[in-house]
């Protein structure tokens, strides 16, 4: 299995250069929201390990909201972020980036303060030193590679066409014969080089060990600290409820221009991007709670929700939570299926509790009770706040723009049926119905 990795390269934009940078990034799109995979700056389409990527200019448009907490907003320069999710390890991927898009990236990052800087002789070094690790990272299906996605999509397409061709001739009820024909067809197509089903690579040894250590280590450490947690629990609960009751609530409707700018980038493909940025609620209590929850989120994403669903949500391909500005600010990015409104409704109704947990410690979020209750359930406040904190994504790329996460897992099941024979008629029928 090939594990997935992330990168997120950031740099503050030079004074007065914001507009030119925006214009430059816009040249990577055919139209707003529609990336050109073959663009001259970063030809995303040429990276066969890259799932999703985006350029976003992170601006603190809601910085003043923290004043409600009696805190002076910290300065925040507009910051360019280039982030993506890909197969394999970061070192080789960044090298590939430099090789295939070096001049384009140099052109883009030259808008950033400190590029190039004295300590990094090469672009590669600069990228490496300006990378930020997420606090929590979600991958819809750990181990599913871009290559696999494309191969399995081709398999589905080919099988689907052939099945329609032979269905009546073989007889629709004759499922075993149909399967046999389909399987021989796949063999033939493979022989002819029209279909490829590359077997998964063995998992890298280092990754396996690291993953196991993480899988066992985190619960172990938590167990070790559990007496301490039990001890502080009453104080934690008391303080939490105090804050939840007293934290200022912001009911600010996002401006029409803001919504218009965001929605102009959406619904060109079956999936959409979401970038959101805001302040963590002030105080050590909130910060530690936030970090602890993201630690658990990351653990759950890595070891529990790593095969097609994040609690009840099956529409997220990749998502990450990133702390910035010395842990005072949080950036969240996701890649999801469907339109924005359905993404949010899905969230509220299916995993409102999870949203409350992971975003309840951010400024502007509707008040929660006991970390998981209410919050997003207050639909209008929640929808206002998430849209208000959303920031436009200048460029967004997804290697398989017309496929939903559900389809990717369906295609994987179709392939599984090719490789592992079903025993019962019922299983065969189920397999055929997927095609």
């Amino acid at each position: 299995m090939t594990p997935q990795s992330t990168f997120m390269i950031t740099g503050a934009v030079r004074d007065g250069q914001l507009k030119s940078l925006r214009d430059l990034l816009a040249t990577m799109n055919k139209a707003p929201g529609q990336v050109d995979p073959d663009n001259g700056l970063v030809p995303f389409g040429r990276f066969d390990r890259l799932h999703v990527a985006r350029f976003v200019i992170i601006e603190a448009t809601t910085a003043n909201e923290i004043k409600e907490f009696g805190v002076t907003p910290r300065p925040w320069p507009p910051t360019l972020a280039f982030l993506g999710d890909f197969d394999g390890d970061r070192e080789t991927f960044l090298a590939e980036l430099v090789e295939l898009a070096g001049s384009g990236l140099e052109k883009i990052f030259s808008f950033c303060v400190g590029f190039p800087d004295a300590n990094s002789n090469t672009l590669l070094q600069w990228l490496q030193t300006h990378n930020i690790e997420p606090k929590a990272n979600y991958i819809n299906w750990i181990g599913r590679t871009v290559k696999q996605v494309h191969e399995e999509a081709a398999l589905h397409k080919s099988l689907s066409a052939y099945l329609q061709e032979i269905a009546d001739e073989v007889g629709r009820e004759n499922t075993r014969a149909l399967r046999q024909k389909l399987l021989s067809y796949v063999e033939m197509e493979k022989q002819a080089g029209r279909l490829t089903l590359t077997p998964p690579e063995p998992s890298p040894c280092g990754w396996k060990i690291q993953n196991l250590v993480h899988k066992i280590g985190v619960p172990l450490i938590l167990l070790l600290f559990s007496p301490f947690f039990i001890l502080i629990a009453p104080f934690f609960a008391l303080r939490l409820r105090m804050l939840e009751r007293s934290d200022p609530e912001l009911f600010i409707r996002p401006t029409a221009e803001h919504i218009k700018a965001l929605s102009a980038q959406e619904d060109w493909f079956v999936s959409n991007q979401y970038s959101v940025f805001g302040d963590a609620k002030p105080g050590l209590f909130r910060l530690l709670t936030f970090k602890f929850i993201l630690l658990l989120t990351d653990y759950a994403a890595r070891h529990i929700y790593n095969h097609g669903f994040l609690a009840r949500i099956k529409t997220i391909h990749f998502a990450r939570w990133v702390f910035m500005d010395d842990d005072h600010r949080v950036f969240f990015a996701s890649n999801y299926d469907g339109s924005h409104e359905s993404y949010m409704d899905d969230f509220i109704n299916k995993v409102g509790w999870g949203l409350n947990l992971t975003f309840g410690n951010a400024v502007g979020y509707p008040s929660t009770r006991w970390l998981i209750k209410e919050g997003a359930g207050r639909e209008q406040v929640f929808k206002y706040t998430q849209r208000r904190h959303q920031i436009p994504t200048e460029v967004w790329y997804k290697a398989y723009p017309d496929f939903t996460a559900y389809e990717l897992s369906r295609n994987a099941r179709i392939r599984q049926g090719v490789e592992i024979r079903q025993d019962t008629d019922e299983e065969i029928h189920e397999w055929l119905s997927l095609i």
Binding site: S160, G171, R172, L310, R312, G338, E341, Q380, P401, E407
Partner: protein, 507 residues
Amino acid sequence: MTNSSDLNFDDLQALLRCSHKNLKDTCFLLLNIIDADAAKQWLNSAPVSNAVLTDPPPNTALQIAFSVDGLRALGLKETVIDSFSDEFIFGMSGDESRSRRLGDVGANAPEYWDWGGDAAQVPHMLLLLYAEKGGIKAWRETVQGKQFLKAFKLLRELPTLDIGDIEPFGFIDGISQPRIDWARQQSTDSHERNRYSNLLAAGEIVLGYRNEYGQYTARPLIDPKQDLVAAVLPDAEDQPNQKDFGRNGSYLVLRQLDQDVPGFWQFIDKASGSMAEKREQLAAAMVGRQRNGAPLLPPASEKIPGIPDDDQRNRFNFDPDPGGNRCPVGAHIRRANPRTGDLPPGITSWFTWLIRFLGFGGKPDEDLVASSRFHRILRRGRGYGPVLPPEEAIKPDAPAAERGLQFICLVANISRQFEFVQNAWVMNTKFDGVQQERDPLLGHRKPLISGEVTDQFNRPDPAGPKHITCHLPQFVTVRGGGYFFMPGLRALKYLATLPAKGSEISS
């Protein structure tokens, strides 16, 4: 909690409570206000029908709704207008991104509409007149009165024709409607009900009441200290020191949908080898009901709140048919109302609840669709064009004529209800895991950006591979549309007494 006695049906327009089914003649008028004072005078005495039930029911009815420009023309202040939803303020055709979401692209694009396509010239007002057979002309004269021509300019008289219970393709229409929980008996808490219910919180359809989230949908509230005229308005339930302009009002979505009846039946006839029985089967599979309205599924074994036990046409959900073997997943009625609950079926104990709640224990194909209760609409449309039975429509010389539906629905939240249903369910090529298809009736057939086709219709077969019908043409084309606000009767009075533009009455 307040109870039903607080609900003032005399302040609701009747359309929220009944569809005026007995009033067969209709006349839908799109108007512009040319003289605000005259319009207000007319409005002040207009015989608008309220929702109090009478016996016998009245033999005429009048409902009124305004677009945002209509409210502006009457002099409603911008500060009040700003509190309406973005969808209403910018209109159905006002934003390309919205058109894209709604599927108003290609032949559906607003630039080709007969009316409402130019966001700068959306009609101010919609008048819905209803009368018993033969009575519409007299009723129209009564309603219009003397001031009418001075006040308004008639932009368009939308075609309507009584074609009975059916819509132009020949299917009985309007069977599935939410039942409004006027008495506010049902809890909106997901813990207390996680299965599909047809009983819907009043606040999903009428502004000023709690919706399915237990919240009050955002709407214009007016401080009576700042605006003396507002005294006539009802109080805001959640903020008693404010007057509620939205209370007892509702957003009215109107779309004129042209239906190509010969095109529909001729395609189906060809696809089913001109065999009458197969033709009916394919058409029923696309709609999700037989032409007589019978659903393709047997009645549900359990009770469904809000649906009478003996209502054979409505007492079902799709839980027993997850794969669409009986009713294809892509069928029109399944897309328009998937009858889903808050949680997938199969919860029998707190343990299974927890397992499902955390996302475990289900099959990969389950739980792909949102809970229905947040996305219901109350339909009040009327058909138009001469009836053309399928047996006639399949003939190559079937008489061409303008046929279609004046689709009307009432909602409290345009984006979460109408737009969501239209976008996430009806037009979505990935709805509930379907492949390469949009709604077989309503969908446009534009391919995806990668070229993947969307013009198929898939019928799963319990015995073998699914049946695919390819190359569906577009059967329904949008010809016009707009978002309107249908105020409560006191809000109408408020509008009628607004000071003329420029002058201000305030304390």
